[in-house]
C-alpha cells in the first residue's frame, strides 16, 4: 500500500462551501428550544442537591398551588409509567447495574439526580413552582474516589448493590508472561484521565407532543441519535414503535453527550401522553453540567516490556473506569472501545488488558469525543516517550523501531484487529518536515544550555484509531445490543432533481454538503439539484445515526451503493430509449452514451423524467429509479497521523504556552477538504483542552465544584495557536469510498502530544509526569515534587524550586495569564476529587 494522491472528481475531493450555512449564519434555524406548539407546557426537573441519600418524602403541594402550574409528579408517582433508562452495552454477562429510573424514587445517587417534575404554562412559572417542592433526604456516605470505591469495606455508591465494581472485562493475546519475564527493560506508569464535561454549545432540549397521524406521538430532541431515541423510548415507555416519530431538528453539537437516552426525554414523552398536550424541557447550563453525561475519568496502570534495543515485547494495562452513579446508554462500553487501541501503531508479542467499571456518586460518564480511544492513545504515546527516556533514545526513533511498516498492511495487530491500510512513515516524514523537527531539537538544546526559565519541549503523538463504527458482527460479539450498519436512499424526482435520505444524523458535520458531493458525482447531476434529508424517523426510517466517526465511512458508503443501484436501473431505461443493447450503454459525466456513437445519449435527469412518466419503459420494468442500500462494514477503518507540538514551559510559574502545532492526518480519501480540515481543528482544540485547560472537580461530598463556564474552563480563541495541518492519503480498503473518518482524530491525537511536550520541556528538572490539565499549578507542583525527590538531571530542579520558595506560587501567574483572563478558572486543582 503506497500513499497516493486523493482522487479528485467533479465534486468529491474538492472544497464545496456548505449548503447548511445559509440558514445558520442568518439565524433561520430550528433548534429544539425554538419550537413552540399550541397548548405546550414547560417541564422543570427538581434535582437532588445530595450526592447520595435516601429520599424519605417528596411534598409537591407547595408547587401545585403556584401560578400557572399544570401538574407535578414525584418519582413514585411515575414509577409505573416507564421502565428505566436503557443501557445498550452490558459488556459482560455478570455486569451489575442499579435500576435507573427517569426520576429517583427511594435513593438519589449523584448531585443532579432528578426527584420530581413540575409542569407549568411558562418556563418561568415552572421554575418558580419547582422551588416550592420540598424533598426530605436522609444522607448516605458519598463515594467519590474510584480507588476508595474498590477498597475492602468501601461505602457503596448504590445501596441496592453489594459492590461498587460493576464488571471486569479482559482482553489478552500472546504470552504476556514470556514477554515480561524475558524483557530487558520494563517501564511502568499510572496515568489519570481526568473527568471532562462535553459542553456542546446547544444545551439539551426535548419537546414531546401527542400529535401526528392516528395515535402517533412526536418527539423533537437535541440528539445525535434520533433512531436510537425512537427504539428505546418506545421500548421503555411501551409505545408501539410505529406510533413514535423522533425528529432531531437543528442540533448544536454533541461530541457524544447527545448520544444517549436521557431521563428528560422519557419524562417529556410520558407526561405528554398523560396530559394530552405538548411538553417541553430545555436544560439550563447549570443542569447540563450536572445531568448531561461526562467523559473520560479513568485511572490507567500500564507497563511496557522491551528488549535492550527498544523492541517492544509486551504491554499490560489495568484500567479503572468511573461509570458515575448509573449506566447510561453506552457507559460500560466506553473503556472497551479503548481496549483494542492500547498498542497503538506498534508491533509487540503479547498484550494483556483488564478493565473494572466502578460506580461512584457522580454524574454518569459516557461517550465523549473519541470515547475510550483518546485514553488508550494517551497511555501508549505517553509510555513510549517514557520508554525512550529510559533507553536514552529519541522518542521518534523509538517509535520508528516499533511501528508497523507500510508494506506490512493488512496487519493483524496484537489487540486482535486487522489494520487494513496505513503509512506511518509517510505521515511522520511530512510532519517532521513541516515542523522542522531537527531544528527545533537544536533550539531546545540551546535553551536548555542557556539555563533560562522558559524551556522548550517537543511533543510527539503518532496515533491510530478505530473508526467507522461498526461491523455489526463485531458489535454483537462485544455484547452491544445494536448493529453498526448504515442506510441511504436516493429518490429521483420528476424534474430530475434528487432527494438523498441518510440514516446518519449530523449536528455540525456538514452531511448536507458532503452527501450532495457524493451523489452529484455518482449520479452525474448538479450539486445544487440535490437535497439531503436526515434526522427524522418518518423521513429516514432506517438509520443508526452519527457518532464514532462513522457517518461518512458507513453512511457515505451506503449512499454510494444506493447511487450505484440508481445508475444500473437508469442504464436499462436509457438503453431501451436509445434503442441500444444494455451492455453497449456507458455512463459518464451524467449521461448515458451508446458505445461507438457518443452523440446518441441521454442525461440522467432525462432518464429520471422518462422513468417517472413511464410512457415507454422496458417490459416489466418497475417505473422508478429510486434505490436504497444498507451497508454493514466488514472491518473498522483506521485513520492515523503524526502530530507534533512545540510548547514552552515557564519553570518558575508552571505556565505552558503552546507555540506551534503540526498535524498530518491520514483519513483516507477526502470528500471535502475544507470540512475535513474544520473537523481536525475542532478535534485538536478539544484534545488540547483536555491537556491544558479542562477538568471536572468534585469535593469529597460529591459536589461538582466546576458547575459553570466560570469554573470549568472551556478554552476560547486566544488559547490556541494557528494549527498547521496537512494530510497524507492512504485509502481505506474497507469501504468503496476509501474514506476513514475524521471526527475524532484531532481529539485522540493531540492530548498526548501536548503532555509529552510539557514533560519534554521539564524532564531535565526530573519531571516525568504531570496531572491534566497541565495548568500552571499542576505543572508547578510537578516541578516542585521532582525537585523535592532529587530526581533532576542536575541542579536545575533545585534551582527552580529555590526561585519559588518564598513566592506566592503559581496562582498569581495563572491569574495574569491573558489567555485565561476571559473566565479565569481552569486552575482548579487536580482531577475528580482526589483520584490522582
Amino acid at each position: 500500500m503506497t500513499t497516493t494522491e486523493n482522487p479528485i472528481q467533479a465534486n468529491v475531493g474538492r472544497t464545496r462551501l456548505r449548503k447548511e450555512d445559509a440558514r445558520l449564519v442568518t439565524g433561520r434555524t430550528n433548534f429544539t428550544d425554538d419550537i413552540r406548539l399550541p397548548g405546550m407546557v414547560h417541564m422543570v426537573v427538581v434535582r437532588s442537591p445530595m450526592a447520595h441519600a435516601k429520599v424519605t418524602n417528596v411534598d409537591l403541594t407547595g408547587a401545585l398551588d403556584m401560578p400557572g402550574v399544570v401538574a407535578a409528579f414525584s418519582g413514585a408517582d411515575l414509577a409505573d409509567d416507564a421502565g428505566g433508562l436503557p443501557c445498550a452495552w452490558p459488556v459482560t454477562e455478570d455486569m451489575v447495574a442499579p435500576e435507573h429510573k427517569a426520576l429517583a424514587i427511594d435513593e438519589v445517587a449523584y448531585v443532579g439526580d432528578g426527584v420530581a417534575v413540575v409542569l407549568a404554562s411558562t418556563a418561568a412559572e415552572a421554575v418558580d413552582a419547582a422551588e416550592r417542592v420540598v424533598v426530605d433526604y436522609d444522607p448516605l456516605p458519598a463515594v467519590v474516589d474510584m480507588k476508595a470505591a474498590i477498597a475492602d469495606g468501601a461505602d457503596l455508591a448504590q445501596s441496592t448493590l453489594d459492590t461498587n465494581v460493576s464488571y471486569r472485562w479482559p482482553l489478552a493475546n500472546g504470552d504476556i508472561d514470556a514477554a515480561f519475564d524475558g524483557a530487558d527493560v520494563v517501564v511502568e506508569r499510572e496515568f489519570v484521565q481526568q473527568r471532562l464535561i462535553p459542553s456542546a454549545m446547544e444545551p439539551r432540549a426535548v419537546v414531546a407532543a401527542p400529535m401526528g397521524v392516528s395515535d402517533e406521538l412526536t418527539v423533537w430532541s437535541a440528539t445525535q441519535v434520533p433512531h436510537f431515541v425512537r427504539v428505546f423510548l418506545a421500548a421503555v415507555i411501551g409505545i408501539d414503535e410505529q406510533n413514535l416519530r423522533v425528529i432531531a431538528p437543528d442540533v448544536g453539537g454533541g461530541f457524544g453527550s447527545k448520544l444517549d437516552i436521557y431521563a428528560e426525554e422519557i419524562l417529556a414523552l410520558v407526561l405528554a401522553q398523560k396530559l394530552g398536550r405538548p411538553v417541553k424541557w430545555t436544560e439550563t447550563r447549570s443542569e447540563g453540567f450536572q445531568a448531561t453525561i461526562h467523559g473520560r475519568d479513568q485511572v490507567q496502570k500500564i507497563s511496557l516490556a522491551m528488549d535492550a534495543d527498544g523492541r517492544f515485547r509486551g504491554l499490560k494495562v489495568d484500567l479503572l473506569a468511573d461509570m458515575g452513579a448509573y449506566m447510561q446508554l453506552l457507559t460500560p462500553g466506553i473503556p472497551i472501545l479503548g481496549a483494542f487501541m492500547y498498542s497503538g501503531i506498534y508491533k509487540m508479542d503479547a498484550y494483556d488488558f483488564s478493565c473494572r467499571g466502578v460506580f461512584t456518586n457522580k454524574t454518569p460518564t459516557d461517550a465523549y469525543r473519541g470515547a475510550g480511544r483518546p485514553e488508550a492513545t494517551f497511555a501508549i504515546e505517553r509510555i513510549v516517550d517514557e520508554a525512550a527516556h529510559e533507553l536514552g533514545v529519541d522518542p521518534m526513533e523509538l517509535r520508528k523501531r516499533n511501528w508497523i511498516q507500510h508494506d506490512e498492511f493488512p496487519y493483524e495487530m496484537i489487540g486482535t484487529l486487522t489494520f487494513d491500510s496505513g503509512n506511518y512513515e509517510a505521515a511522520t516524514a511530512r510532519a517532521i518536515e513541516m515542523f522542522d523537527y531537527d531544528g527545533r531539537r537544536a533550539e531546545q538544546a540551546n535553551r536548555r544550555d542557556s539555563g533560562g526559565t522558559k524551556q522548550l519541549g517537543i511533543g510527539i503523538s503518532t496515533f491510530t484509531e478505530m473508526c467507522g463504527l461498526a461491523p455489526s458482527r463485531v458489535l454483537g460479539n462485544l455484547r452491544y445490543v445494536a448493529g453498526g450498519w448504515e442506510y441511504a436512499q436516493v429518490r429521483m424526482l420528476f424534474s430530475g432533481k434528487v432527494e438523498v435520505i441518510t440514516g446518519t444524523s449530523p449536528h455540525g458535520q456538514g452531511h448536507d454538503t458532503a452527501w450532495s458531493q457524493i451523489a452529484a458525482d455518482a449520479l452525474g447531476v448538479p450539486f445544487e439539484d440535490i437535497i439531503v434529508r436526515h434526522g427524522d424517523t418518518a423521513v429516514s426510517h432506517r438509520g443508526l445515526d452519527t457518532y464514532g466517526s462513522r457517518s461518512l465511512v458507513v453512511g457515505g458508503a451506503a449512499l454510494a451503493a444506493a447511487c450505484g443501484k440508481v445508475v444500473e436501473k437508469a442504464r436499462r431505461v436509457a438503453a431501451h430509449l436509445l434503442e441500444a443493447d444494455e451492455d453497449d450503454v456507458e455512463f459518464s459525466d451524467g449521461a448515458f452514451r451508446v458505445v461507438g456513437s457518443p452523440e446518441t445519449s441521454m442525461t440522467m435527469q432525462e432518464v429520471s423524467t422518462a422513468t417517472f412518466v413511464a410512457h415507454d419503459l422496458p417490459d416489466g420494468m418497475e417505473p422508478s429509479l429510486d434505490s436504497d442500500a444498507s451497508v454493514d462494514p466488514d472491518n473498522f477503518s483506521y485513520p492515523h497521523g503524526t502530530h507534533l507540538a512545540l510548547v514552552e514551559v515557564d519553570t518558575e510559574t508552571g505556565q505552558v504556552e503552546l507555540l506551534d502545532y503540526v498535524s498530518v492526518d491520514d483519513v483516507g480519501n477526502v470528500v471535502n477538504p475544507q470540512i475535513v480540515e474544520g473537523q481536525v481543528h475542532g478535534g485538536l482544540a478539544q484534545g488540547i483542552a483536555q491537556a491544558l485547560y479542562e477538568g471536572a472537580v468534585y469535593d469529597q461530598a460529591g459536589n461538582l465544584q466546576t458547575g459553570s463556564f466560570v469554573d470549568y474552563y472551556v478554552p476560547g480563541a486566544p488559547d490556541f495557536p494557528t494549527f498547521r495541518t496537512d494530510r497524507t492519503v492512504t485509502p481505506a480498503t474497507t469501504n468503496d469510498l476509501g474514506v476513514k473518518g475524521v471526527g475524532e482524530a484531532g481529539t485522540i491525537a493531540s492530548t498526548p502530544a501536548i503532555i509529552n511536550g510539557v514533560i519534554d520541556a521539564v524532564r531535565h528538572l526530573g519531571v516525568n509526569e504531570v496531572l491534566m490539565p497541565a495548568s500552571p499549578r499542576n505543572v508547578w507542583t510537578a516541578i516542585q515534587q521532582a525537585a523535592a525527590s532529587g530526581s533532576a538531571d542536575s541542579d536545575d530542579a533545585q534551582a527552580a524550586a529555590a526561585v519559588q520558595a518564598d513566592d506566592a506560587g503559581p496562582d498569581a501567574a495563572a491569574a495574569d495569564n491573558a489567555g485565561q483572563a476571559q473566565h479565569a478558572a481552569g486552575d482548579t486543582g487536580t482531577s475528580t476529587g482526589g483520584d490522582a
Binding site: 449564519v25 434555524t29 401560578p67 454549545m201 475542532g682 486566544p718
Partner: protein, 255 residues
C-alpha cells in the same frame, strides 16, 4: 413605522389540569409588568413584560427572533450576543425593561432584504467559520462590533476580540480567518459593520448563499439610516424577518 403590540408571556393556552388561580393569588406571587418599546432590527416593537424578563427571552419568546441563542445564561458563552445601540452585549445578562427606548440588532437584522448576506455572515460561510452553527449568531454579532472598533485587526487581535464567545466545534481557526476576511471586505466598501447590509443584486430575491456574493460593490448607502452606536432607529422600516408571532407554532422545516 410599524409597531406591534404584543401580549405578555407565553401563549400557553388553558391548562387542562390547571388549578384555578383566578385573581386571589397572594401579592408576592403576582408579577408586576412593564411596558417597553424597543427598536429591534430597525423596527419599533412594543410589549408588556414582567420585570424579570431577560432580553434574550424577550427576543426569542416575545418577538419570535429565535436566531439569538441561549447557551449558558450566565454570561460566559456569548451565544446570545446582540448589539445594543451598536455595542455587543450579552442578552442573557440584560432585562427587557432595561433596554426600553433603545435599539437592538440581532442576527436577523444583518442580511439585506434581498437576501444578500452581511459581509461578516458571508465570510463565516466562505471560511467555514461554523460547524453546528449554534454559537454562530453570537460570534457574528461580536465580530460586527469588534470590526467597528478595529477595522484592520491582526490575527492575535481577532482572537482576543472574539474571546467573549465560546465555540466547541471549530477550534476557532476558521472563525479567526472569517473575521479577517470580513475585515478586508468591509475595508473595501467602507460599510459600517453594525448596520444592516444593503442588497447589491437587484435581481436576487432570495437568500441563497451561493448567489449572495459580497465584496467590491461600493455601498455608500449601506446603512439603513441608523448610524453608528447610539443613534436613533431606522426610518426605512426594514422588515425584520423573525417569525414575529409568538403564537406561531413550530418553525420551518419541522412539520
Amino acid at each position: 413605522m410599524t409597531t406591534d403590540h404584543l401580549p405578555s408571556g407565553d401563549p400557553g393556552g388553558t391548562p387542562g389540569h390547571a388549578h384555578d388561580h383566578g385573581s386571589d393569588l397572594p401579592a408576592d406571587l403576582v408579577e408586576s409588568t412593564h411596558a417597553v418599546s424597543v427598536t429591534v432590527n430597525g423596527r419599533l416593537r412594543r410589549a408588556t413584560v414582567p420585570a424579570r424578563r431577560l432580553l434574550s427571552d424577550f427576543l426569542r419568546h416575545d418577538l419570535g427572533l429565535t436566531g439569538t441563542h441561549v447557551g449558558c445564561e450566565h454570561g460566559v458563552c456569548g451565544c446570545c450576543t446582540v448589539l445594543l445601540d451598536g455595542a455587543a452585549v450579552r442578552a442573557c445578562l440584560l432585562l427587557a425593561v432595561g433596554v426600553d427606548g433603545r435599539a437592538v440588532t440581532t442576527i436577523e437584522g444583518l442580511a439585506a432584504e434581498d437576501g444578500t448576506l452581511h459581509p461578516v455572515q458571508q465570510a463565516f460561510h466562505d471560511e467555514h467559520g461554523l460547524q453546528c452553527g449554534f454559537c454562530t449568531p453570537g460570534f457574528v454579532m461580536s465580530a460586527c462590533d469588534f470590526l467597528a472598533d478595529n477595522a484592520t485587526p491582526t490575527r492575535a487581535e481577532i482572537r482576543e476580540g472574539m474571546s467573549g464567545n465560546l465555540c466547541r466545534c471549530t477550534g476557532y481557526q476558521n472563525i479567526t480567518a472569517a473575521v479577517e476576511t470580513a475585515a478586508a471586505r468591509l475595508a473595501e466598501t467602507g460599510q459600517d459593520p453594525r448596520a444592516r447590509c444593503a442588497g447589491n443584486d437587484p435581481d436576487s430575491g432570495s437568500g441563497a448563499v451561493a448567489r449572495a456574493r459580497m465584496g467590491a460593490t461600493p455601498n455608500e448607502a449601506g446603512t439603513t439610516g441608523r448610524g453608528p452606536a447610539g443613534q436613533g432607529p431606522s426610518s426605512t422600516g426594514a422588515l425584520d424577518d423573525g417569525p414575529g408571532d409568538p403564537g406561531s407554532a413550530v418553525g420551518e422545516g419541522d412539520a
